[in-house]
């Protein structure tokens, strides 16, 4: 493995190990997404459209991601650890990429429970929805991790992260819902792919400036 890939792997492995031991984030995400789907199940009228149900799934996914992102830099923030990572001679974007991989993994695990629960409570899901969710995860984790790092340095971090993240998540919801309900989902999936590429590159390139004064 090359130096950069080894750095990313070490940082991502560290985040997964921390979660495995502390179990701070993933159980909360699972409980939240299932609870939200249960609430939506009882809140929607029996004759609600599949479009409305799919829209609510995407709301649940975005807010579950937000919950995970609020904890993304918790360990670094509470113990000042970002200084230690920033001082290491590795490329600082490796910190972002390692963290993004961790956030994506937690989101995928939450969705492994959420999607079958959605199928149980509402209606069957197709490959388009699964593909849209997979693409959305990448974009959400990429931009969300950058914003979480910005918010971590702020005193009003609990307020700042949703304010920054939710507007940027709107295209994900549009693309996700579109891909899930349109007769031709390819254009919406392409849109999600483009969103991923643009925000991944932007986040990768700008992370260094977020974590240094």
């Amino acid at each position: 493995m090359t130096g950069y890939a080894a750095d990313v792997a070490a940082l991502a492995r560290k985040d997964l190990l921390l979660e495995l031991r502390s179990r701070d984030t993933l159980p909360a995400m699972l409980l939240f997404v299932v609870s939200a789907l249960v609430v939506f199940h009882f809140a929607l009228p029996a004759d609600s459209s599949t479009h409305a149900e799919t829209g609510l799934l995407w709301i649940a996914i975005v807010f579950t991601a937000l919950l995970g992102l609020t904890r993304a830099f918790a360990a670094e923030r509470e113990q000042g650890l970002l200084d230690g990572l920033v001082l290491a001679p590795c490329d600082r974007s490796a910190i972002w990429l390692g963290k993004t991989i961790g956030v994506t993994a937690f989101l995928v695990l939450a969705e492994l429970v959420a999607l079958p629960a959605f199928a149980l409570f509402f209606h069957a899901i197709g490959w388009e929805l699964v593909a849209a969710v997979a693409l959305a995860d990448v974009g959400i984790a990429a931009i969300g991790t950058l914003l979480a790092a910005m918010a971590a340095a702020s005193r009003a971090r609990e307020l700042l992260l949703p304010l920054l993240f939710l507007p940027l998540a709107i295209p994900v919801v549009i693309g996700g819902v579109g891909a899930s309900v349109a007769t031709n989902p390819a254009s919406f999936l392409g849109f999600l792919g483009l969103y991923d590429a643009v925000f991944a590159i932007l986040s990768w390139a700008s992370f260094e400036y977020v974590v240094t004064e």
Binding site: L17, Q79, G84, A88, P89, E213
Partner: protein, 193 residues
């Protein structure tokens, strides 16, 4: 190795450092003293590149990986063991023979027996020893130490003194409220007001 000219740092309206000039030659060992809030920690952070000066300039003739920075916080993950923490830093610093170096530094600071215990279970003194292991792991050329004796017992202080005074003649900037402990090793003192 460190040159600062008219170095100033403010946080909002609060002046922390004002027009500071500093010259630390290679191999120099400078004790930084001063009351709380005089800017000792800020000076170390400026030298480490973790903060930017408000005005003036600072030049540090060492690349990022050659700096050993000991902060107030130990900069280790509580849920990882002592060895896992050092292994992570060892990977990021691309240390050759990482495992051996981690073991050696743990032995030097008397933490070998506790290597597989989580840092969260450590006492304040043990955390400080682990922080010192992290600081010295990559054999840095430049040491920036903020209150290195904090929390250490007599044995820990002796191990640190041996590290600083006996093992190598590294360039160091040490902020301390207890300058007597390193008086014989110091080449200069900087008193911040």
């Amino acid at each position: 190795m460190i040159t600062a000219r008219n170095l100033s740092k403010r946080f909002g309206d609060k002046r922390v450092l004002e027009d500071l000039d500093l010259e630390v030659p290679r191999g120099g060992f400078v004790l930084v003293t001063g009351p709380n809030g005089s800017g000792k920690t800020t000076l170390l952070r400026l030298c480490a590149g973790l903060a930017a000066p408000t005005s003036g300039e600072i030049q540090v003739d060492a690349f990022r990986g050659a700096i050993g920075f000991l902060a107030h916080e130990p900069l280790v993950y509580g849920e990882l063991t002592a060895l896992e923490n050092l292994d992570l830093y060892g990977r990021l610093y691309r240390i050759p023979e990482r495992r051996e170096r981690c073991g050696a530094v743990l032995e030097r600071f008397g933490l070998w027996r506790e290597r597989n215990e989580r840092a969260a279970s450590f006492s304040r003194g043990m955390l400080q020893r682990l922080a010192l292991c992290r600081t010295f792991l990559h054999e840095p050329d430049l040491l920036l130490l903020d209150e290195p004796f904090d929390g250490l017992d007599a044995e820990g202080a002796k191990l640190l003194y041996l590290e600083l005074a006996v093992r190598g003649r590294r360039t160091a900037l040490v902020a301390t409220h207890n300058p007597e402990s390193l008086a014989t090793r110091a080449s200069a003192r900087l008193a911040l007001a």
